[in-house]
């Protein structure tokens, strides 16, 4: 594909998104709640689309397809158990939404700080999120850079792809805050899904003569790919190690859990949850079928992540569809990155700046938050251009690292004995374990870093809580309020 075609497509994509972002910016009111949470007034459909676009990154059509290519059907189990992690939202969604409104929380980490009556809890949790989400975002940009470089045969340089994606992410975010992010996410989610479905139909019919034939070919040529452990990649330790941390994604990742503050009512949150589930189910199946197709059509690839670019290069995919898929993957990455940038900026302004400068006034808080939008973008861009091994390790460690927030979050809503020192130790201790194990490649007793970080942070949280003094009054008031409110509405 020529460089001119790719640049033109990215330019058009930027222009359309920018029109939406500018319009969203004009609708935006003042204040941090408006800038970072769209005034807690999102409708269910937009909320579902932004939740989907934020959750699903370039990993799906590249990484998950690659997992399927080398590991077979285990990739489907991994991703659908991850999707089923939304059962956590059944319990935590209404709770976060209610306390968000009552106490005017801007970030999930601010909620933790208030619930455990400790500013240090908010600061430590926010810093942990920054440490694990910056490399994760950098990898998204690296993905776009590598994709455009690959698809153009090197005529669009890696750095151009990374730079363009960063500029798009920061421009839309800066222009209209969360409202612009949510609206452009909605467009991007639609592009992601339509393009993905369209492309898999093309591949199935032009490559195999239909889905039935695709499965028949798979059963006869690669039967092991339909079982686990099958070809071996998804042995039980790898499956648990990958899947367990991602199951908690809806709670552990602040750019996602912050979205539980945003719907204008619980009825709209319901649309958000159900819409996301349907989106996720379809998008998962498409990504898996993509990987199976690559297995059959391109059996000799050396690198699994090359499955997608290689499939796009085949004659059965028309150039126009290949171009749209490239845009769809770029959209998936940009929509994840800009949501993370906005969430991290809100955490710095609310959990760090406001805790240090207690006398800060509202407009200063907003200014600090907005300044961090380009700052984080530059930081992520810088990390992406380095292409260090450490970035890849930290990115993989992100799910294991962020998992350490989960015991504190569960405790906040369901355990009155939880304490601030316990939260800090569980987040710091679990985070260090996740990073060290991931970077060293150690897997004690065969278990992956995500299992260890989860176990150790849970032990630290429970153990230290039992040895220290809980904020009894706050716990009583916080959990008592929720119990009363939820019981009266028959919400579980």
């Amino acid at each position: 594909m020529s460089a001119t075609t790719i640049y033109l497509a990215l330019f058009l994509y930027f222009i359309v998104g920018s029109i939406i972002a500018r319009y969203a910016g004009r609708k935006m009111g003042g204040g941090v709640n408006e800038y970072f949470l769209a005034g807690r007034s999102l409708g269910g459909v937009v909320a579902a689309l932004t939740y989907s676009a934020t959750t699903y990154s370039a990993f799906m059509l590249v990484g998950l397809a690659g997992f399927t290519y080398i590991g077979g059907v285990g990739a489907l189990g991994f991703e659908l158990i991850y999707l089923s992690g939304l059962v956590l939202v059944a319990f935590f969604g209404p709770r976060l939404w209610l306390v968000g409104k009552r106490y005017n929380y801007l970030t999930p980490t601010e909620m933790l700080g208030d619930r455990y009556q400790s500013k240090a809890v908010a600061v430590v949790s926010a810093v942990a999120a920054v440490i694990f989400l910056i490399p994760y975002s950098a990898v998204q940009l690296i993905g776009i850079g590598a994709l455009v470089e690959g698809i153009s045969g090197g005529t669009v340089p890696f750095l151009a792809g990374v730079g363009i994606a960063s500029f798009i992410a920061v421009y839309w975010t800066w222009t209209g805050g969360l409202r612009a992010v949510a609206w452009t996410d909605s467009l991007q989610a639609a592009v992601m899904l339509i393009v993905a479905v369209l492309s898999v139909v093309f591949i199935a019919y032009r490559g195999f003569g239909g889905f039935g034939n695709l499965f028949t070919a798979l059963e006869s040529q690669y039967p092991a790919w339909l079982t686990v452990p099958g070809p071996g990649f998804f042995n039980i330790h790898a499956f648990i190690g990958l899947t367990l941390p991602w199951f908690f994604f809806s709670l552990s990742n602040p750019q996602v859990s912050q979205r539980l503050f945003m719907p204008r009512s619980l009825a709209q949150m319901r649309i958000m949850v159900m819409g996301f589930l349907i989106f996720g189910f379809i998008y998962t199946l498409v990504s898996i079928l993509w990987g199976f197709s690559a297995r059959l059509l391109l059996p000799d690839l050396e690198v699994a992540d090359a499955a997608t670019p290689a499939l796009l290069g085949l004659d059965i995919v028309p150039a126009s569809v290949a171009l749209l898929v490239m845009l769809g993957i770029s959209a998936a990455a940009v929509s994840t990155v800009n949501s993370i940038i906005l969430t991290l900026s809100s955490m710095i302004t609310r959990d760090v700046f406001k805790n240090i400068r207690e006398d800060s006034i509202a407009h200063q808080e907003l200014l600090v938050g907005r300044i961090f939008v380009p700052l984080f973008t530059v930081l992520i861009l810088g990390f992406a251009t380095l292409r260090l091994d450490l970035i890849a390790a930290l990115s993989v460690a992100s799910s294991a690292g962020l998992l350490v927030m989960v015991p504190a979050l569960i405790g906040a809503f369901f355990w009155k004995r939880g304490t601030a020192p316990a939260v800090i130790l569980s987040v710091v201790g679990g985070g260090i374990v996740a990073t060290v194990l991931q970077y060293s490649g150690l897997k004690p007793f065969g278990f992956w870093p995500g299992v260890w970080s989860g176990v150790i942070s849970t032990i630290l949280f429970v153990g230290v809580s039992l040895l220290t003094r809980a904020p009894e009054n706050k716990a009583e008031e916080f959990i008592g309020y929720l119990q009363e409110e939820l019981d009266s509405k028959e919400v579980i």
Binding site: L80, I81, S84, V87, L226, V228, M269, I492
Partner: protein, 63 residues
Amino acid sequence: MKKKRIFWAGLFFLMILAAFVIPYTPLLNDLNRVYGAFLFWNIFALIVIVCLGIITSKWRDLG
């Protein structure tokens, strides 16, 4: 509500445990067909979606 909460939490726990374990048992781990693990995980996800549909049906415009 506490009973309902425990019921759903218990049900989800069992379903998710099954999603981890069953495909690795002799029941499915040598069934090289689309109606093996592939179908099992799809049905699992659809049941979860239906359950969440039931639970969230109580989420009305409160607040």
